[in-house]
């Protein structure tokens, strides 16, 4: 039967491109869609308005803000006027410190949040223990934790990481729990029918079934981690991009402030892409499902 089916195929397919060739193929193909042009136009328009406000028309109050030309000149200059550029060590040090804090905070939040959420979604008993506490702590804004964090934890590093961890922990846990709840009862029944033990069900139904929600949660959580990290660095910290922004403001050097903001945006976007790619790699079935829907 299978052989008959394969013979009936009269279309011959070429081997799919791999690795870099595949990347080039996709890139080439994307230029036949409006996407890259719209992106370039959008970014261009945004920079133009920014330039117009700050440097072109010098609108009142905007004239104190460094415009795109001033920022770019400093950012890429070996001898920056206001001390921060891609050629200075301080710039990369701030980035390194922030990234390391994010890595630690995100790792802790994911390592604790995902298992916690899985067990909360899976076992009503565990949820009954933990959910009320979680729901009480969750609405407290991260900035409200700052004094407590400084009192509780020593040095600069620990409070900042604590705050970033806390914020993303809530998001990850809640999303993971909702992910488990979203799994259709029939999958549990089918697995039970096939003779799965509880542990088998956990491994083969609960974890993979919750994965799409988990990764949606992780994407939000890494954004929240950056958000609270910078807030924490602004209040308590001696390095990092948040510190760079607030320190520049205090010292009235506005260009490093803007450089710090733009850098944050770009790195935040990059980390989000990393999380998304990891998710797509782990969830081939989900990627194909979305592809079938034309997404």
């Amino acid at each position: 039967m299978a052989q008959a089916a394969s013979k009936s195929k009269n279309t011959r397919r070429t081997a799919p491109p791999k690795g870099f060739a595949l990347f080039l193929y996709r890139l080439k193909k994307s230029f036949s869609t409006p996407t890259p042009y719209l992106t370039i136009a959008g970014v261009g328009l945004w920079i133009f308005v920014y330039w117009l406000l700050c440097e072109g028309l010098r609108v009142d109050r905007f004239d104190k803000i460094p415009g795109p030309v001033a920022v770019a000149r400093d950012w890429f200059s070996p001898e920056p006027f206001q001390g921060i550029s891609i050629f200075t060590e301080a710039y990369w040090n701030h980035i390194y410190v922030s990234c390391r804090r994010i890595a630690i905070a995100f790792a802790i939040a994911t390592g604790v949040g995902v298992p916690l959420g899985l067990f909360m979604g899976w076992s009503k008993k565990i949820r009954d223990y933990i959910f009320p506490i979680l729901e009480t702590l969750r609405p407290i804004p991260i900035l409200a934790w700052v004094p407590l964090a400084i009192l509780m934890l020593p040095g600069f590093e620990a409070p900042v990481i604590f705050l970033a961890t806390l914020a993303s922990l809530f998001v990850t846990t809640l999303n993971t729990m909702l992910g488990v709840e979203s799994i259709d009862e029939e999958y549990f029944r089918a697995a039970g029918c096939l003779g799965s033990s509880n542990w088998d069900i956990f491994k083969n139904v609960v974890v993979p079934g919750a994965l799409p929600f988990i990764f949606t949660g992780l994407q939000i959580s890494i954004g929240v981690a950056w958000f609270s990290l910078v807030a924490a660095e602004m209040v308590s910290g001696d390095h990092g991009l948040g510190y760079l922004i607030v320190d520049s403001y205090v010292n009235s050097v506005t260009i490093p402030m803007v450089i710090g903001m733009l850098t944050l945006g770009l790195i935040g976007w990059l980390t989000s892409i990393l999380v998304r790619s990891l998710g797509n790699y782990l969830m081939q079935w989900h990627v194909r499902e979305l592809a079938l829907q034309g997404r």
Partner: protein, 295 residues
């Protein structure tokens, strides 16, 4: 049954020896809801799934057919009465009773092949080459050999149902329970699936419970037809369908089939009318529209 499990290795060639279990329902009742608002879904149902027969249960939609399936599969317990499988009381789900669900319950995160080998792999009944060969044999049998490394959502509705059949059959169940398995398929695939399923059944006459709300489908497939009433479901009538096997779709046009259909329709029609009038539809409609099934 237990013995067959241990000898599972040699069972591939002995498909004929298995699947001849008997299920008895004795005065089974089931209700849902709070004490003060109890909804009886199944009331005092007794019938048998005779060994080697295809028993089809028909009834108005929403009458409790799925609940009946859940009870026999062991996902739920009856409030009173008992369900016996070869004389032993059913207390939970087991691999001896495979369920093919209404909507597909293939794990979307596993490929078709992984879905099929899921049960035996977990239980360790078969492994290595033996399992691979058996899975491939079944996949070829249901015409999915070429698609075994696709994810379920990449398959068409009919293919998903066949994959699910393969996943059930590899466990060599003594009973196959199918809960409106072809619902949601277009008329063409539905007809094809019915014939395909019949061919599969007629190969080894496995004890089978097939639930549907389509009267033509029921008569085409059944050895015995169990007609249920409106909710709370009770057995209205059991009809032995003596159409010859192997069956062909054209047999539905015979006088014999027509007589069965007439008989079943008049009972179902009365039931439908009763539920209609109880919902307060104007009486002149229900009085004038008497039970006159047209062929």
């Amino acid at each position: 049954m237990q013995q067959e499990n241990s000898k599972g290795a040699a069972a591939a060639s002995k498909d004929y020896a298995i699947g001849k279990s008997k299920v008895e329902l004795r005065n089974v009742s089931k209700s849902y809801g709070e004490e003060w608002d109890e909804q009886t879904v199944i009331e005092d149902i007794s019938f048998e799934l005779t060994p080697g027969d295809l028993t089809v249960v028909v009834g108005p939609s929403g009458c409790g057919k799925s609940t009946l399936v859940n009870l026999i599969a062991g996902f739920e317990r009856p409030d009173s009465g008992e369900i016996l499988l070869d004389g032993k009381r059913v207390t939970g789900p087991g691999k001896d009773r495979m369920v093919v669900f209404q909507e597909t319950a293939l794990m979307p995160w596993q490929t078709t092949y992984e879905n099929v080998v899921f049960g035996p792999k977990l239980r360790g009944d078969m492994r290595g080459k033996e399992l691979k060969d058996e899975a491939e044999r079944l996949l070829a049998k249901v015409g999915l050999y070429e698609f075994m490394h696709k994810y379920p959502l990449q398959l068409s509705g009919g293919m998903q149902r066949r994959a699910e059949l393969a996943r059930a059959l590899i466990n060599k169940p003594s009973i196959l329970i199918m809960d409106e398995p072809f619902r949601g398929l277009d008329a063409m695939s539905r007809g094809l699936m019915q014939e395909f399923f019949l061919r599969l059944f007629e190969e080894n006459h496995r004890t089978n419970l097939f639930v549907t709300s389509e009267i033509d489908e029921a008569i085409f497939l059944a050895d015995r037809l169990v007609i249920l009433s409106n909710r709370p479901a009770q057995v209205r009538k059991v009809i032995d369908i003596r159409l010859p096997r192997p069956r062909h779709y054209s047999m539905l046009n015979s006088q014999e089939a027509y007589d069965y259909k007439r008989e079943a329709m008049s009972i179902l029609h009365d039931e439908a009318m009763r539920s209609f009038s109880s919902t307060g539809v104007s009486s002149d409609f229900t009085e004038n529209y008497t039970a006159q099934p047209n062929a």
